[in-house]
Amino acid sequence: MLFTEVRGLPVVSPAEAGPLGTVTSLTVDIASRAVSHVRLRGSRLRRETVLPWDAVHAVGPGAVRVRSTAAPDTLPPRHDLLGRRVLTEAGAEHGTVLDVAFDPEAGRLLAVFTTRGEVSADRLLGLGDHALVVRAG
């Protein structure tokens, strides 16, 4: 599944009747190469809320179903992967991130699609405020 497919999906919880909101972005943990949090927003004027990936029961089709709506203890840094600049380990730019493929069951990242080609997930080194750093390959 792709990050851009998940963005905008309604988030539904078994405890509540209506949807909690729509997904604004997925936060990734580069060290474990997996999706760590889901960010969602109730409406355009409401604040963003964060749910840990463990709370997600299933992604798709048409909605993200969550088990619980408990917020995580520690908020992850807000580094959106989509649109981020990509730098190789050698310090050369490698385009920007267009999309990310991930496994919706486990949340594992599979590949990052950049404006200059595909980067497999095992080449990711770090994600910070400036860039996504990838191993030269």
């Binding site: 730098l87 050698a90 310090g91 080194l125 770090g126 910070g128 405020d129 996504l132 750093v133």
Partner: protein, 194 residues
């Protein structure tokens, strides 16, 4: 082959950790006394109004010098700039404007910039020189700018660089030409320029 770049073009290049965070911008390059290697960088803060940083980046903390960023392992590699500069001076202070002459005393010109190899070596491979009229006759209005390979026999005497006469037999007009020139000249940097 690692890319060649001029040291002045390094100014304002971001310093980025392998974790992807930008910690500073390069302010100036610091070379060793023999002008053979980069020993570090002085830094400016990232904001619009932030001035020079008290911390410097020693070359040992650099992961790779790249076309778009200076990659470092992590923030802890930064050291106090004063400690880094004990025996060294920045490029701007010491090298730019230095006279370059041959062993026989022929004037070559004045140093405008230093050409360094990117990657992990940090070698100085040459200089951009405003050629003196005796060395390269040019248009009357301004002196020709040429790239001179450093060679391995450069002597630094105060504010003058002394090169053997045969080292300046071949010079290049631009950086791509210089890249192929030093690629074909045997020298100590061979290891870092495969």
């Amino acid at each position: 082959m690692s890319e060649l770049m001029t040291a002045r073009s390094l100014t304002t290049r971001p310093v980025v950790t392998l974790g992807g965070d930008a910690v500073a911008h390069v302010k100036d390059t610091v070379c060793d006394a023999a002008a053979s290697r980069i020993t570090g960088f002085t830094l400016t803060g990232r904001g619009l109004l932030s001035g020079p940083m008290k911390e410097g980046l020693p070359w040992s903390a650099v992961h790779a010098l790249g076309h778009d960023a200076v990659m470092i392992r992590d923030r802890r590699g930064l050291v106090a700039a004063a400690a880094m500069m004990v025996h060294q001076q920045t490029l701007r202070a010491r090298m730019l404007g230095a006279r370059m002459v041959t062993e026989t005393g022929t004037e070559i010109g004045t140093v405008l910039d230093v050409v360094v190899a990117g990657g992990t070596g940090g070698w100085v491979v040459g200089f951009r020189v405003a050629a003196s009229r005796g060395f390269l006759p040019g248009p009357t209005r301004h002196r020709r700018r040429v790239y001179v390979p450093r060679g391995d026999k450069l002597l630094v005497a105060g504010r003058a660089f002394v090169l053997p006469g045969d080292a300046v037999r071949h010079v290049a007009d631009d950086l791509p030409g210089f890249t192929s020139l030093v690629g074909g000249v045997p020298g100590y940097w061979k290891g870092s320029l495969p």
